[in-house]
Symmetry: C2
Subunit: 477 residues, 2 copies
């Protein structure tokens, strides 16, 4: 027997997006004649051939890969691929794609298709999609569920997106503490399948109050005669449904959890959260920090209509314009000096630019440390001093370099010295504000990353111009 | 019985860093009289009291929390806390902290302490620490291991940090395909404990060639008489040791894996990777994107000596200085124009600033999409057109706003019109370069995030000054 034939090739190889795009491009002009994998009215054998190839390529895709593919396609192409997706996996794909892309997909589905797509979903998954679905579909989907599931869906939907309750699922396997491991094994065997990621079984009393957890790893190695109460772990990491998901994700990361119970105020077991949801939270958290720092309001469909992108970005552009205008007015104060020494206009962007760059380094480091929970109030002052120290060193070094260069350009010792002083002072300003902005943002309960890059640049621009032109006016005129 | 007493409080509550810092501050002046939790020579009852409290507070910390605490402390405080940490957990803590902090901790440990700390570690963990340990310690630690473990350590260390081989562990539970589930259960019961995260058992032939995996979830629900070969899954996601860890992490995320086998070219099972390592990879990947965009070379100890921080940041500051110098020389070309119309000096930073902000929005979005694998070559051109469209709209809107403002400030229609044109053109430039920089970086095999923020700002500054002053010189003089 050939040993290798028994195990199929790794599934995690890259999707051949380029090939799929080519096929889609061939078919796009005749997209209106293609209705589903099995229903199409094409003219040429080439088109039929391309369609067949495309259907095969798409059929092999995991729902998560299908989601990535859909995200990366412009709207018309996306809709063609979506028509050819496997209908039974539609629900999974809708769960995987980002909100803006999900909207475009749902808009283009018939009510009947949507109902079929959500039919196989678990209660928590349906709850996740519900806000994006047409009301009639939600109503119809709910009415096909039993009372318990309806209650679960209502519970899920009552929490905010950033609360543990919104991400918990209800696939609970729970047992009593006073039975033997043998009994547990027999009980489990009666399941057709165990929930995804089951790494522990929840131990509850007759009121559903959590008593502990029985890790499967312990169950498998323990004496079948042993009682659950003797084998179970009772120092359990539990979560409340109203807790913040980012804190829950941090706890999963820190304690290497795979699943964890969610309990209410009476410690009654009401759900569980799993590592796959937490991985998504971690990914999204870092990404939203990045987007926020650059002044993007939220995740954006790569191929969103231009008007949507403009809307997503206009706030921070407007803020930037205001701050740039202020910086411009600062320069305006010194127009008289610039008229006398035009070199000032030439050199001033250097002072502002290095301050912005250095301030961005500081603020990025602090935001990152805040995300991993490393900064408490006590540390803020020390960090400030450290960053100011770094700036002082950098300011003296790079300020001197630029001071010397300026001297040679304009043959004026005064300009050189003003350059050294202005660069050093602006770097100190950048360090100070680079620490203060995220610390104050956090203290006031805001996201420290939000627009921080725009804010620090605003300060170092206006500040840089003011310091440089002010010093020049004082000492050179 | 009180139901609630059975389950202890959730462990994932915040560490009380501030309280610990206070205690440390009290003890810092007498740190030299404190050698270990059990050995100290203190003078006052207050000090003894603070020490006792600190030891208790530290004793409760999970190694991961201890690592976070150490990261957040300045050097002297960090060393005091480190002396008081539980010696048997030292190895775990060393694994959890970042590289720069690990160096500071190891520097301050005796050879004997280090040996004790690494004694309990698994082969893969020892391999991870080895590059940071003194050579004698590595040698002594190796010689206490058996031949198999030595081979595993050597194997781990032969891979780069960003390869799967460096992160795999060797805690393999493997079985043959031709036994019954009952036999597997009995076999597992002979283990004292199963490896962390065990969610599947690897099925191999007598040559250790991987045949499939037996998910524990399937094992638990299957008929004890059933053969492993009938229950096992043979469409396994496998990894090669030389594969990139970020791709492996993406696969874990996409397919919701908890563990996965690592096989060599002959499909022989050589190790496994686990979700907890992959979560770290995902976190680090997003963080390094953020740090790279801001021009920080690598993770930095928050309280690194100033000189280390200066070194970490100088390259990008130097790059920034060069680009700022170029921008300054661009302005220098137009000194003659500025002498005539000093308003140009006042308005030019607005043009440059809005270009930088908008370019950063574009580049951040593209880098994020690249990280999640959404951009192929085909898409780059379409994205370019879309971003240019967004810029055109933004340029016309905001350019007009600033054009009108400039008109009212300087009572010159010409200045207003030049402002509109320059802002629109610079936004178009920002969009173009914001797409091209990351695409070209990726094509040339570099990290698209690397310094992208500095580069885009360089282009939009020089470009903005050139466009604005150039247009002004052409049309206003």
């Amino acid at each position: 027997m050939d040993n290798q034939s028994n195990v199929s090739e790794p599934e995690h190889q890259h999707i051949d997006t380029d090939h799929i795009c080519e096929l889609v491009a061939t078919l796009l002009p005749v997209a209106e004649y293609i209705h589903s994998p099995s229903q199409s009215y094409l003219q040429t054998p080439e088109q039929e051939q391309a369609l067949a190839e495309l259907i095969i390529a798409l059929h092999d895709l995991h729902p998560a890969d299908m989601a990535t593919l859909l995200e990366s396609l412009p709207l018309a192409e996306r809709m063609l691929v979506w028509k050819l997706a496997i209908p039974t996996e539609d629900g999974e794909v809708l769960l995987e794609v980002s909100d803006p892309v999900r909207e475009t997909l749902i808009e283009n589905m018939e009510q009947q298709e949507l109902l079929a797509a959500v039919d196989d979903l678990d209660a928590d998954e349906l709850a996740e999609l519900a806000p994006d679905l047409p009301k009639q579909v939600v109503y119809a989907a709910l009415s096909s569920r039993d009372e318990q599931e309806q209650a679960q869906i209502a519970a899920s939907m009552s929490f905010e997106d950033n609360q543990v309750g919104a991400l918990m699922d209800f696939e609970l396997v729970s047992i009593r503490a006073d039975v033997s491991c043998e009994v547990v094994l027999r009980y489990l065997r009666r399941f057709e399948r165990l929930p995804d990621h089951t790494d522990k079984i929840f131990v509850v009393d007759d009121q559903d109050v959590l008593q502990g957890v029985l890790p499967i790893r312990s169950l498998l190695v323990s004496d079948p005669e042993a009682l659950v109460s003797d084998v179970m772990a009772d120092d359990v990491v539990t979560f409340r449904p109203e807790e913040d998901v980012e804190e829950a994700a941090a706890a999963f990361e820190r304690y290497d959890l795979v699943t964890a119970p969610v309990v209410n105020d009476d410690r009654k077991l009401i759900g569980r959260i799993t590592i796959d949801e937490m991985v998504d939270v971690i990914r999204e958290e870092s990404e939203s920090d990045m987007l926020n720092m650059a002044g993007l309001r939220e995740e954006e469909d790569l191929f969103a209509p231009i008007i949507d992108s403009v809307k997503n970005r206009w706030i921070w552009l407007a803020v930037n314009l205001c701050t740039a205008f202020i910086a411009s007015r600062v320069i305006g104060l010194f127009e008289h000096s610039i008229e006398k020494i035009v070199a000032l206009a030439t050199l001033m962007p250097i002072v502002a630019g290095i301050g912005g760059n250095s301030g961005n380094q500081t603020i990025t480091m602090i935001v990152r440390a805040m995300t991993s929970g490393q900064i408490s109030n006590n540390q803020a002052r020390r960090l400030l001093h450290k960053e100011q120290g770094v700036s002082l060193v950098n300011g003296l070094i790079w300020g001197s370099v630029m001071g010397i260069v300026s001297y040679f350009l304009y043959h004026s010792i005064g300009i050189g010295l003003v350059m050294v002083a202005a660069m050093t002072l602006n770097l100190l300003l950048a360090a100070t504000v680079g620490v203060l902005i995220p610390v104050l943002m956090q203290k006031s309960g805001r996201d420290p990353a939000l627009g921080s890059s725009v804010l620090i640049t605003a300060v170092t621009d206006s500040g840089g111009f003011f310091i440089f032109l002010g010093l020049a006016t004082l000492f050179l005129l």
